[in-house]
Assembly symmetry: C2
Homo-oligomer: 514 residues x 2
Amino acid sequence: MLRIKHTAIKTKGIVPRYLKVTGSPDRRTDLILIRNFQTSIAKFSATSRYYPNEPSKPLVKTESIPGPLSKREISELDKVFDARPAYFVADYEKSLGNYIADVDGNLYLDLYAQIASIALGYNNPSLIKTAKSQEMIRALVDRPALANFPSKDLTNSLRKLLKFAPKGQDQVWPALSGADANELAFKAGFMFRQSQERGYDTEFSKEENDSVMNNQAPGSPQLSVLSFRRAFHGRLFASGSSTNSKPLHKLDFPAFDWPHAEYPTYKFPLEENEAANRAEDDRCLKQVEELIVTWKNPVAALIIEPIQSEGGDNHASKYFLQSLRDITLKHNVVYIIDEVQTGVGATGKFWCHEYADIQPSVDLVTFSKKFQSAGYFFHDPKFIPNKPYRQFNTWCGEPARLLIAGAIGDEIINEGLLEQVQRVGRHLFSKLEQLQKQYPDKLQSLRGKDRGTFIAWDLPTGKQRDLLLNILKLNGCNVGGCSTRTVRLRPSLTFEEKHADIFVDVLTKSMKQL
Amino acid sequence: MLRIKHTAIKTKGIVPRYLKVTGSPDRRTDLILIRNFQTSIAKFSATSRYYPNEPSKPLVKTESIPGPLSKREISELDKVFDARPAYFVADYEKSLGNYIADVDGNLYLDLYAQIASIALGYNNPSLIKTAKSQEMIRALVDRPALANFPSKDLTNSLRKLLKFAPKGQDQVWPALSGADANELAFKAGFMFRQSQERGYDTEFSKEENDSVMNNQAPGSPQLSVLSFRRAFHGRLFASGSSTNSKPLHKLDFPAFDWPHAEYPTYKFPLEENEAANRAEDDRCLKQVEELIVTWKNPVAALIIEPIQSEGGDNHASKYFLQSLRDITLKHNVVYIIDEVQTGVGATGKFWCHEYADIQPSVDLVTFSKKFQSAGYFFHDPKFIPNKPYRQFNTWCGEPARLLIAGAIGDEIINEGLLEQVQRVGRHLFSKLEQLQKQYPDKLQSLRGKDRGTFIAWDLPTGKQRDLLLNILKLNGCNVGGCSTRTVRLRPSLTFEEKHADIFVDVLTKSMKQL
């Protein structure tokens, strides 16, 4: 018989989450029991155990936001940096868990989380431990040119990342940001495409070697990436050419002449509009295939977000994402899923496109944001170029952020945070459905059901949306918008029912004030 | 009268470099005296004080490189990552100062320094201190969306960076890599150009807003960036279009139709070939102006490295770089200096283009590598776009690396490392000049005189160059190549006369073996 003892000794305010199991001669059973026991605990208090001293509610002391101290610091910052987008100046020392503090002493419940980039709340004890590790210090002070002089830690670091890769993906190429990850994936896609045309082991021709030095075909072929209307894949020049969110993101920059197909626009709630939404899928799929067949520059790759995030939280159905696999296979187009904003747990699965169970696996999956590290996953070794140094740069990723990514992945799995996100998401969504009955006009097209806390809705106008976001801040909730009139919720995975309740109370109050 | 006492207490093997000055009633005088005293010490032993336990010489135990343990680890790494470019697997724990260790126990004097990216040697005590700081831990665990929710540390962090900015530059935009920095600088250049055409405060037209969503002019104007033959500005799509180093860096990727002018090819030694080199400058300048006037797509910006590094350590004269300022002003072209590889001290000045004393200041200066952080400096506030969110992304740089950059800059100044690099560079160059007399064929076009340790030469063929680099490794020196047949020296700024002597001995031995 086993004796299970929860060693609840407080160490610097953090309750250790490991259980001591004694008495069993079978160590394997022990471990399973620990795991089960942990998961059942996780169901009730994963976050509270991270943050026993988390504030119990928001607190706004200033009459306007940014408050006077933030304003002063923003105007100082503005002398050396374009500080116009600053909402307030944060005090990360005083931020904890799901709460972000500012220099005026305001404390907001954070449902924006650095544009969906904080996975485990502020000052997470497990990340602090990683930040203090010897591996981290080495990564910071002796940053290698990873591919030329890899450290002895690198294989482990990448294997750890791959533990969390989407099903079917078993290799990774690191990058530095979502835009970078997407552009490196484009490069992988272009090389793959040309290697199929040319033959993987065929040498480059003299004509290719000569023309490429003048940026001309055939060495610099006029290939294209197909993306979607309202897509966001980054703001560099190639990622920017595939981005289609807002004119302001692209104006005045040269762009590649690449096509955009329409992304389905569904009617909500989904379960009441199945036929109409299927017809919408088919209309858009037809357009995708037509563009692939007719576009002036051959379409080498297709990139899509499983939920378009900057573009307004537009969802794509399982049928749509699977049909794109069929079309891309038929026309020899590389299929890239952009999980930069949707990935790493916020939808209740580690990767959002897992909901679509795409078969066979897509070719490349890009990640960034909540993983802090960035890059793309793949499985077909033919995505490794025929020669070294074709996919290459000095740093090939950021070793410090690879360590953070590994720690984030471990916490998500060990703490059962995916289950928590699903559970809290259901709780939050049903409360919003209730509120929608009261304010149907101000809570239009509520979406994200069964997609964890990745929830959004529309207001009638952009002006009202912006006003609501301001009122929410003044009432203590930091929330972001996307597209022109959408509110998007992007809390950390540490967001619990109690936080959802506070948010819905604040939202209800704010709706009245709107 | 002052009593100056050097507190030479050993603390964990590191001799503190601060001096205690007592007895003066005038604290200001004290500080000046400390600084003078420190500089005079720096002249003799800045590096030895960092690394009192640095190995005294290289040690190669294995018969081939990579050694058997490196080989095994590379083949493991290759299962998850393209490890073909790996020279060996490094053991950064055992690397110190100017020496890099590998997992086979080999110890190399490092004159490559992670493709010119390690400023202060391995495991630098001052960087370790920064890596352990509370600010660093916050930056790692609570990475902000810098422009939306700047931390209270950000203004200081950026001001610190700006302390080291090239003369005339007083604002900065952070990025994540050299390629990223260059592309963000291109964006700044394109917006500047169009704002001059349109009027800084003029609203975008409906036609612009519509066309940009289809990647078409006028919203996506067909503007170009002029760069140079053999240039290297990165490997993303726009930076890649300006790069002209090798076909392999560019093949199979779509490129913008941007022009490349010829970069001057000088005869060495420079002092014996002044007239011929001036004629070469004029020939290339004429081509630059012709391309600006005649290129099919208007040239909005010009980007140049003051020494083309990947492209073969090609130097540009003061006259050439100043004349480009005159041409860019005449034709309203934004002048960008790429200091990614040349910046941060290796040439003996903090920024290499300071040697050219360009008047008026260039418009944008990009940096990365030895600063670990990346970005561009500028001075004209008109390079801040007319609206917020035009130059923007989630992270806007890496706060952890900004802290490292500040620490690197401080050490370079406080330790007198620029003077050290100049002094050691002169010592090394004169020894190489001696060796050149013995091996004129294997030490062709020796260059980098009075440019610190930023020294290079050519071998007759690429094959011989590669062979020499291998022999050098087997004899204990890690050295890199560039272009097709060039050897480039890129040690850390902590490289001293004694290291130069070891290198020249190893090189002499290796030349005999070649």
